[in-house]
Symmetry: C2
Subunit: 343 residues, 2 copies
Amino acid sequence: MIRIVVDCFGGDRSPAAQIDGALAALSAHPDLALVLTGDEPTIRRRLAETETPYDPARMEIVHAPSVIDPGEKPTDAIRLKRDSSLMTAVRLLSDGEEEIAGLVSCGSTGAFVAAGLLRVGRLRGVIRPAFCPILPTMNGGIVGICDTGANVDVTPAYLVQYAVMASLYLREVYGVENPRVALLNIGVEEEKGDDLRKTAYPLLRQTPGVHFVGNMESRDLLSGDYDLVVCDGFSGNVLIKSTEGTSLEMLKKLKKDIYARPLYKMGALLMRRMFKEEQTYMDYQNYGGSVLLGCSKVMVKGHGSAKASHVTHCIEQAYRMQLGGLSAKIEQSLENLPQELQK
Amino acid sequence: MIRIVVDCFGGDRSPAAQIDGALAALSAHPDLALVLTGDEPTIRRRLAETETPYDPARMEIVHAPSVIDPGEKPTDAIRLKRDSSLMTAVRLLSDGEEEIAGLVSCGSTGAFVAAGLLRVGRLRGVIRPAFCPILPTMNGGIVGICDTGANVDVTPAYLVQYAVMASLYLREVYGVENPRVALLNIGVEEEKGDDLRKTAYPLLRQTPGVHFVGNMESRDLLSGDYDLVVCDGFSGNVLIKSTEGTSLEMLKKLKKDIYARPLYKMGALLMRRMFKEEQTYMDYQNYGGSVLLGCSKVMVKGHGSAKASHVTHCIEQAYRMQLGGLSAKIEQSLENLPQELQK
C-alpha cells in the first residue's frame, strides 16, 4: 500500500476539487491509500454530497482547522500555523505513525517550499530541493524544467544536481529512457552566458548519468528536441510562465477574433473539435503538478487553480514517484558525483 | 536631413533585404539620407536589378570588402575586421565627415553590442547601453522589454537607468504618454525575488520620470497592462525568446493539425483571412528591431532573418529616434538621478 497525504485546503477550488480528485485517484489505484487534511466537517460533507463509493479503509481524514493564505510570509506561516491543513499534512508526512510516502498540495507555493526545506528535509547529498514541472511539447512529447522558482540564488553545483535528479525523475515517472538535458542560456554556443552558465556547462558535460546536449535558447523549449532544461529558479520561472502565458493569451485572442465575424464563426464551427483538442493539449490542468525534487519524501505542488482532474494527476505523480523508488535512486546517483558537487 | 548608415552585409537575406529595405525607407522620407556599407559591386548590382528610382544625392555607398560572421568572437571581430561592413559603418558613425545620426545592422548581435560599447561609446551618465525590443500585445498595443541580452551581470542601478531610457524611448518614438513600467519578477508582491529585484523595487518607485507600477510575472507580458518591463539581460532574453518561440510553435502546430483533416481544412479556408492577419500580427518582421539604448549615436539591431520590410522598419525607428531628440533627453533625465545611479 502506498500512502499519500492530500492538503485539501489550498487552491481556488478547494476543498471540492481536492476531495473529488482524491476519490478518483483512490478508485483508479487499489494499492493507494489517502489521508486528507483540513476542516473535517467540511470534508465529510463533501464526501457525502458526491456519493462516490470509496473504501473507508483506504481513506482517512485528519482534522486541521486553519488554512495558510497565499499572501502570508512563508516562514512565519509554517512556524505559526501548525494547525493548518498544509502543516498538519507535513507533520503526518514527517512523523505519522504509519509511513506516508508523499504529499500533494495546491496551496501557497512559498509555504510549500519552506515546509519542504525546513520541515520535511532533504535526501542525502541534496544541496537544495528544486521544482520540476512538465510541459507538453508541440510534437506530442513532454519537457521538464528544473528549477522554476524554489531557489533564485544558485551555484553551478545546484544545476548539476538538478540535471541528475530530474533525469531520474523523467526516467522513472515518465519512461523517458535517456533524457536529453540542456542548459537554458542566451545562445547555443558553449561560451555564452554569465559566469554561472559558463562554469556549469563543462560540469554538466562530465556528469555521469546526465545526457547533456548543450545550451538551449528559450524559444526552443517546445520544439521536442529536449527532454529536460536546467536553469536557475528565476529564469526558469520566467520561462514557464511566459510559455504558459503566451499560449493562453494566443488562444484568448483567437477566440475573440473568431467571434468578430460570422464567417469565422462558421469556420470555427467546422474546426470545433480541433480547437477543443488544442485547448485540452495546452491546458496544464491535464498534466501533473510541479514536483519538489530532492526532499526526503515525495512532494507535489499542484496549480492554485487546480480542478479535480489535476489533483488526481498530482496524486498519481506522487504514487508513481514512490513506486519507482525515485528517492533511493537520487541518493545513489548523487553519491557518484565529485565531492564538491554534493551537499 | 537625417543621415543613417545601413550595414548591408549581415543577416540571412543580406544584402538584398537590406538594399530593398533602404530604398523603401528613402522614398518614404524626403529628409532621410542613407549610407550603405558592404561590397560595392554587389550593392550596385542589386540597385540596378531592382530598378527602383532613388535620389542619388541621398544615397551613398561606402565599400567594405569583409563580413563579420555570427560565430566570430565579438571583441576579436571588431578589432580585426576593420574593413567589414559593420565596422565600416561604425567608423562612419563615429568620425565620418558628414554627421551621421544612426546605424542599422542585422548582423552578429555580439559584434553589434561590442561595437556600440567600445567604438561608438555611451551617452553622458549611461552605465551600460541596453537592448529594448518592442512586442505587440494581445489587445493591439505594444510592450517594450529592456534589457534582452546586452548585459547579463547587472546591478539595481542598471535597471533604474533602463527604466528611464526606455520610458523616454516609448514616449518619443511610439507616443506612449506615461509608460507603465514593471519589474520582471517571479511574483507580484514587493518582497519577491532575489537581492537584485528587492533592491531595485524601491529605487524604481522613487525614480523621477518613471511611472513604476510594481512587479510583473512573465505570463502577463502580452496582457496590455504594461508598456515596459525592465529586467537583467539574461532573464529578458529568456522572456522574449520564449514569447516569440511559443507563438511560432503554436501557429506551426495549428497549421499541422488543420491539414490532418479535410473538415478542418474547409473550416480554415473560411478563416483564411483571420489566420493571415494573426500571423502578420505575431510576425516580428512587421515591427522594428531592437534598439541599443544609451549609445552616443542611435543604434538599431534588426533580426538576423530580416526581410526588406523589417529593414525599412529599423531605419524608420532610427529616423524617429533622431527626430525626437532622444539622446539629449536621455542625458538630461539621467542627470536628475541620484549620484549613485549615474555612471
